[in-house]
Amino acid sequence: MNEMNFNQSDLLKLIDHLLDQSISPEQHQRLQQVLLNDATARQEFLAYVDLHLGLRKLSCVTALPAIERAVPASTADAGRSQTVERVSLSRGLQAKPQAFIALPRYRMMALAACLLLMVGAGLFWTGFADRSTSHLPSNEAQPHASLAQTFRPVFLSQSASAKFFGELTPRDQASLDYDHEFVLTDGMIELQFPSGAEAILVAPAVFELASESRMLLSVGQCSVYAPPGAEGFVIDTPLANVVDLGTRFVVDVNQSGDAEVHVVEGEAEVITKRLETAAGTSQSRSLRLREREYSLLGSEGFASTRPGHFEPLPYQRQLPDRIVSFNAQEDSLGRASELRELTIQRGSVPVTYRVDDLIGVELIHYHAYSNAIMLTPEWPSGSPNSGASADFEFESTPDLSYLELDHHLCSGLINPAGQSTPLTRDPVFGGDAGSSSATTPGMAIRFRQPVINGPGPEVVVFELQLIVHPESGDRFHVSPLVFSEGLKSHTINSYDIDMRSPQSKELVPFRLYRCVQPPRSLAELKESSLYDGLVHSVRAKVLAVSIDLSNLGYAHGAAVNGLFFQDAADDKDAFDPVFIAGLPPTT
């Protein structure tokens, strides 16, 4: 190695600048060269970094051991103002304990707390994550007095297809960190503030929780509801603050910071910020908006406040109808096998159904893409051609019950063929004894009793997706079995629960069976000989989507007997349905 002479004092200076984030690019380059070329310099670097970390650790002596300690009684009550008694570094000398908030850096400890809670060993830890989410109000150093305030948790009450940049989507009812910039790239989320205020954010949105009643919104659309008692809730946009005076309003901030505010009910006050512009410092102005009044906010101030000048922004009263969650039987590793129940929002109302309450299906057509056609749970050991196990008689022909009757989420008849353009005319399928020539690619099911079109979704489809395949799931078309006036195909482009959703579940192992030729009709399917049956080597997760029959043009109250499904043929991966069912009529 090319040892390089270095001056220890210079080296420590460079490291000081590095650790204090004040290092220049030239200094950084110089430090890199020294460290690359000199092992002694690297040892010095590690020792100095340890000193820095040691000072961090010793200056929050109660925060670290808190993991091993019981939570003080005062923090056990959820939703109360919570403080951490922090022992000063110099306490041993001064005996001067201080009440301090936990600072943002203790997010690390919050994470530790979450993990400990996850592993069931953190029962004594409830509340620490909340303490750790306290927010330092601005980038500027604050005097001690203002730091003494602490904040109760803000919860992500629910989400719909939500994705965050650079982090996992929190589970429903998770508390969110203060002083952390969240970038919502897809979907919608609903936040519940301690004051009772609710906010629904629509992607793309960038936001940050600043306090119990203040949210910074850099970009995006946010619908706010402040019930009585939650007045004073503030949306802080780059150019103005919008203060809720007991109301429903929606604010939309664009990428240049301009905002549009629309009051739906009640009142809101808009207060522009003092801005440094080329023309000088603008004065802060305020404006009270009443029901159905709008305001456009730009760097020049208010543009208009009266109704009729703009199209009203869409106010989100709630998240869209969707499969909210599902429960399945799980093995000892938490992997899902049989569906037990699902909760679905239908016509704005969440309803939970046991799987036995759902309307089953019967396969009436199957035209496949490939010869990989059937999935079964792992338990049918043995394969058709290698001899069955002693206690299991494997049929060498496909068992339609894996799609029709069983509730396993890792079994079904997969890879129905498809086409990029959805159907516009009746599909052709031969049925049991029909001809296999020129049948429509895809699969058809008949509901065991008609499904009645009502408010929200009426059909649910679960898909198995290997973890190496697109996390958004396979797109597919769904069409009427018989087209008539007003009916049309509908394409499912995204799933209510996809691979990245916190509600998605990993599946128990499963077997994949093949046949010699891809079947082109139900008759061919039933005559196929199966082989292989190996346990699939790649793990899979289950995705779920709900279908509103109104999207296919069915009228309210229409009885639907069946549906046709086709892969959207947009990539090499085909749609793998493992459970399809209709929902009972809403009462």
Partner: protein, 173 residues
């Protein structure tokens, strides 16, 4: 919850609690920025929990955890290449190796530092306390103190040097 799952959880809890400070130290060594290190640490901790069933119990936990952290650091650096000054890959790999070799040193250094802090003058203790307890930059500390930022910066750097020398001296004896 099954008994087997509970055992895995307990194992993870014990290993994670024992080594989390060292793991954070490893990550911080590579990214040198507290907030970034916390972000990587968070992601890494969740990954460790998920991958824990794959962990070979016959091997020590920390090197396994650092192996996962190393790739998380690399991912993080790749996605922040434009907005951070970063060491190059060669140096990151070298620092990673050096840090893994020196994990035993960390505990000794911390104990020595604890002793050295007691030797500081009260004003110096308070200044260090103010800076580190708040996770402030030296500039923030200076502003709060109402003193010139360069004065405070120089003072804190001087205290750190003294502590550094004190720690080295104690470890040498």
């Amino acid at each position: 919850m099954s008994e087997e799952t509970q055992t895995i959880e307990e194992e993870f809890f014990n290993a994670y609690t024992r080594d989390r400070d060292r793991l954070f130290g490893y990550i911080f060594t590579l990214v040198q920025h507290a907030a970034d290190a916390e972000d990587v640490f968070q992601r890494c901790s969740l990954l460790l929990w998920r991958k824990f069933p794959e962990y070979d119990r016959d091997r020590p936990f920390l090197p396994w955890a650092c192996g996962i952290a190393y790739f998380e650091v690399r991912n993080f650096m790749r996605s922040h290449r434009r907005d951070r000054l970063q060491f190059n890959d060669e140096l990151i790999a070298q620092l990673s190796a050096d840090r893994l070799q020196a994990t035993a040193e960390t505990d000794r250094r911390l104990e020595a530092l604890r002793m050295c802090l007691r030797e500081l003058k009260r004003d110096d203790q308070e200044l260090i306390d103010l800076t580190y307890a708040h996770d402030w930059t030296l500039r923030d500390t200076a502003k709060t103190n109402g003193r010139a930022s360069q004065t405070i910066y120089n003072r804190i750097c001087l205290i750190r040097r003294r502590l550094h020398s004190c720690v080295l001296r104690r470890l040498a004896t």
